[in-house]
């Protein structure tokens, strides 16, 4: 009996000394690339949310998105095929009102979201109202400056069906984000509000974006400093 008790105590102590494994809600979508990540294919770039990059450009590029990076960036060579993250219908092809030029594609997904594929290298061959299935090639990745040499990447947004709200893709795409985050993590810091430095510091703990809403990160004291802000 005493031995059994000791075993239980030992087991409990062992469990306490080991981190628990977190289980999150189901994620309905897949990654937008068919190939696995790697130095020849693609890797995770900038995450969604209150990133330092978006904070630094909160008055310009990301002002309409409340100062947040309202999608994820996946670095990939120009011309890499991108695939549908879920079943759905083509809603828009090359819609400049949604940004992410030079070419973009908007899908309405059956799961009740919209997906914007940004910075495509060429106009998607798909047509509006065409059905797509999860994993189907829908376009080719490009570069935000259209050069294929500056910042080649796919910018992917997941929005509400009316396009007015953007959600954090990593909470909706089924992938090993902890593993993906190993590569290039030097690009991946979140801006700190020194009045509340624990706020929005994890990849899956980021606010949703209401396009046209007020800035969420116009901090009076921030870290890292906004080195590039001018009077």
């Amino acid at each position: 009996m005493k031995r059994g008790y000791r075993l239980i105590v030992l087991l409990l102590l062992t469990m306490l000394a080991q981190p628990a494994v977190a289980a999150g809600p189901p994620r309905p979508f897949g990654l937008p690339f068919a190939d696995p990540p790697g130095p020849n294919s693609w890797y995770l770039g900038q995450l969604y949310g209150n990133t330092t990059g978006a904070y630094n450009q909160r008055d310009i590029m990301y002002h309409a998105g409340q100062g947040l990076h309202f999608g994820i960036d996946l670095a990939a060579p120009c011309g890499t095929p991108v695939v549908a993250i879920g079943n759905g219908v083509v809603a828009k092809v090359d819609a400049p009102e949604h940004g992410s030029l030079p070419h973009n594609l908007m899908l309405q997904l059956d799961a009740g979201y919209a997906a914007l594929y940004g910075h495509l290298v060429e106009r998607s061959k798909l047509t509006v109202s065409q059905r797509v299935t999860k994993g189907q090639v829908v376009g080719l990745s490009g570069d935000s400056f259209g050069t294929c040499h500056s910042a080649p990447h796919l910018h992917l947004e997941i929005r509400s069906p009316n396009y007015l709200t953007a959600y954090n893709p990593i909470t909706l795409i089924d992938a090993d984000w902890d593993s993906l985050a190993l590569i290039g993590s030097y690009q991946r810091g979140f801006e700190r509000d020194l009045a509340d430095p624990r706020q929005w510091q994890y990849p899956d703990d980021q606010p949703k974006t209401q396009f046209g809403g007020p800035l969420l990160n116009n901090y009076s004291e921030a870290w890292p400093p906004d080195w590039y802000r001018r009077r």
């Binding site: 130095p39 500056s150 910042a151 902890d178 290039g184 993590s185 020194l194 890292p224 590039y228």
Partner: protein
């Protein structure tokens, strides 16, 4: 993202917290203010793949995992120079000040994290702190209260001698990243008479090497050249060394004595070049590794690597690669050490004995004690 921002972020944890772990080298003559800019390269070594021994598991004692913080605290940890304390930015309560807090890895159970200093970038000897104030970069000497401003609002990098500064200025921040000019400057610690070292495009300052007065920078030497070049400039001899040229180079990390360098090459047209590399900072002994993952230097000659994993069901594993031979060994086993790291947020202690990381399961800081070398 702006290359300079990327570089700043790359070095942020080190600049913020771990830079103080550097060992201050002997005093050097003040050379920056009299430097004559040069672009003459003395070495043009270009990495070519060499045979790297494939990783082989090695039996080791089971490393220990220890919880350091509670309540979902915190991110971007660093280390005190003596490897006794883990440092991080926090504001543990509404009434507590925001700042750098420390938890002692030996007495963590007895006391909560303690205030350790204001938030800023510290010089290697921690005698100076850098921050922004009223649209200017300010350097302050906390022991005397003396402070001075740097021309322009830019992040500056303290030299290991604590007597020099380097920074880069972008005259034009519009247009494609790979075409943006960046001017590199060095000056004495008071930023008097800054000297422009060179101009590069699509890059900027990477940082000082840990010993001597050597600057590392990355960029296209001119708009006529597509590839970016990683260069080391020795300010005491005015000699430049070209380390590697490729279009997409990232993740530059220098060993603790500055002898070795690790970096990524990605998306090169020559696919045999793509991957993780180790190379001496004199330009020799470039070697591509048979791994793909995150890395940090454990000491002068051993690189710790956490490879990407095949399945999220498996914990991460830590490997150690010996720089000279390329031999590797596994330090942790997924079956016995449930290492789960959130957002690539881990940091090796200055003595190379520990890793602090953000545990993806409970979002607290945990300590991994590594097997002895």
């Amino acid at each position: 993202m702006k290359i300079k921002t990327i570089i700043a972020l790359l070095f942020l944890p080190g600049l913020l917290l771990a830079a103080c772990a550097r060992t201050a080298p002997p005093a050097r003559p003040l050379v920056a203010a009299t430097l004559t800019p040069t672009t003459a390269a003395t070495s043009t070594a270009t990495p070519q793949p060499t045979s790297t021994p494939r990783p082989t598991p090695t039996a080791t004692p089971t490393p220990q995992l220890t919880q350091l913080t509670t309540g979902g605290c915190c991110v971007n940890p660093g280390w005190s120079p003596d490897s006794r304390q883990v440092l991080f930015i926090d504001k543990p309560s509404d009434s507590a000040p925001a700042g750098i807090y420390a938890v002692d890895i030996l007495t963590r159970a007895q006391e909560p994290p303690q205030w350790s200093g204001r938030v800023g970038i510290y010089s290697p000897d921690r005698s100076l702190i850098e921050y922004t104030d009223n649209f200017a970069t300010v350097i302050e000497k906390p022991s005397t209260g003396e402070k001075w401003a740097i021309p322009g609002q830019v992040p500056v990098d303290f030299a290991p001698d604590n007597q020099h500064l380097a920074w880069d200025n972008d005259p034009d921040i519009t247009g494609p990243y790979d075409q943006r000019p960046s001017d590199l400057y060095v000056a004495d610690i008071n930023a008097r008479k800054p000297v422009r070292i060179t101009r590069v495009y699509g890059g900027g300052l990477v940082g000082w090497l840990p010993r001597g007065l050597k600057l590392m920078y990355l960029g296209r030497p001119s708009l006529d050249v597509r590839e970016r070049t990683l260069t080391v400039l020795d300010l005491t001899t005015n000699v430049t060394t070209t380390l590697v040229s490729t279009e997409r180079l990232s993740g530059m990390s220098v060993s603790k004595d500055g002898t070795w360098l690790a970096y990524y090459i990605t998306f090169d047209a020559d696919k045999s070049r793509n991957g993780m590399w180790m190379q001496r900072t004199d330009g020799s002994q470039a070697r591509r590794l048979e791994m793909w993952g995150a890395y940090q230097w454990r000491d002068d000659a051993h690189l710790l690597v956490i490879p990407m994993r095949a399945s999220s069901d498996k914990p991460f594993e830590v490997w150690e690669v010996e720089a000279v031979s390329g031999n590797s060994r596994k330090l942790t086993d997924a079956a016995t050490t449930p290492l789960q790291i959130l957002n690539g947020d881990w940091r090796v202690s200055p003595d190379g004995r520990h890793i602090v990381y953000v545990n993806s399961a409970d979002r607290n800081l945990w300590l991994l004690t590594l097997p002895d070398q």
